[in-house]
Symmetry: C2
DNA sequence: CACTTATATTAGCCATGGCTAACCATTGTA
DNA sequence: TACAATGGTTAGCCATGGCTAATATAAGTG
């Protein structure tokens, strides 16, 4: 078993990956000093969880990646579980899961996955890695890069920013929402979209965090 | 928020209380050295969580007791929640709750209590403290001290020893079981009991861990 | 009362994981 | 090419929470 801090570093590296991650980027992501990040990277390299090239950056080894995926799995299963059983909203579950993920045994993880019917997406639409780190559903596209005038289905919304999430929720955008891009602002990249008959404007920064798939016609 | 270690010390002190608890007793309970226990007791005294009389022992202050009760509440709510939602057995839930209790926010605690209908007993029959540390159900008696030939209802079984718990479970003894003491062994204090029409022998060590109340005739 | 035994404390070490301050390396631009 | 600026590392400090070994106190016994 690894400590909470080690697990947090691995998870951050995974989220920032798959390429080499710089010390500053990692430090900023975890809100610690660069020195702390360097120290931890050296320790992770010692444990063969990352490869580290001094002054160049670090990247997860296979072993480190599996460990990171295990935490991500626990996080997303917990979000799903809390949402299903307690009816907590998409904005609330992230912070709780962020803490609980480090306290979830393999046994409980399995019991929860079983209870939920081994889901492959969490309430934000993010893919849930399998018990051995298998990841599917990697084909979703950022909304900001999607084609105009096609029927798109929202697959993923971000999970870690309650304010963005509330905005999306209030505007009827969550996994499963069907929308069309009508036009794209040439200057700031913002999108004009149509949800049902309602028109909305989505800023480019938010649109880059929403992922879509093409609606299956049947 | 206090650290996991601090919370564990407070919980142990509460379980071993309410009188002064010796350093060795505490150290044994937490499986740490006496030196570690002494050091922590000094720190807890610093934070005004315990009163410490050197070479005499420590006892929780009101502040420390409330903190301990908060952890106990989380523990017992979690046991109840895991049992209800995931159907985990009485033998499994303790160890999981032991870890999760430190990662449960006040918010989630409330959501779980609400979901469960604010229960006052966990699956082992232990009373669940209220959100502000209120404790009722303190009148249950140890089975070993109970009178012969009266209809007794099992209220509490121990929560922290899976082997004892399995034995009890296999012999049909859990919260709600109704039994009578037929006779008590004069030499070792073991009990001969009748559950329904079935006779069982319960060792005095186990009987001291089972608590009963008198069956209400109605 | 003296002496043994059990219990408690202190001193000092270690690992973890933060931090600041100071010092290196890399990069981009004048 | 020189020299900021940015990014990365090192040194050295701190708190937490373990540990052992040595010492101090309390309690029980001849």
């Amino acid at each position: 078993m690894y400590s909470v801090a080690v697990e947090d570093y691995l998870k951050s590296l995974w989220k920032l990956g798959p390429n080499n991650v710089g010390t500053k980027q990692l430090a900023d992501n975890l809100r610690v000093s660069k020195a702390s990040a360097t120290k931890m990277i050296l320790r992770l390299a010692e444990k063969e969880l990352v490869d580290h090239i001094p002054y160049k950056g670090a990247s997860l080894t296979k072993k480190g990646e599996l460990e990171a995926l295990s935490i991500v799995r626990k996080h997303r299963l917990l979000e799903t579980f809390l949402s299903q059983t307690l009816g907590l909203g998409r904005e609330e579950i992230h912070d709780e899961a962020e803490i609980l993920e480090h306290a979830l045994s393999k046994n409980l993880e399995m019991a929860i996955a079983d209870y939920l019917g081994n889901p492959t997406r969490d309430p934000h639409g993010h893919p849930i890695p399998g018990p051995n780190g298998e990841l599917y559903n990697e084909t979703d596209l950022p909304l900001c890069d999607s084609p105009i005038n096609m029927s798109l289905i929202v697959m993923q919304v971000p999970d870690d920013d309650p304010s963005i999430l509330s905005w999306l929720e209030n505007n009827g955008i969550h996994p499963g929402t069907i929308l069309k891009i009508i036009s794209r602002d040439k200057f700031d990249g913002g999108l004009n979209v149509k949800i049902g008959e309602v028109k909305k404007r989505i800023s480019s920064s938010i649109a880059s965090l929403v992922k879509i798939s093409f609606e299956v016609e049947n």
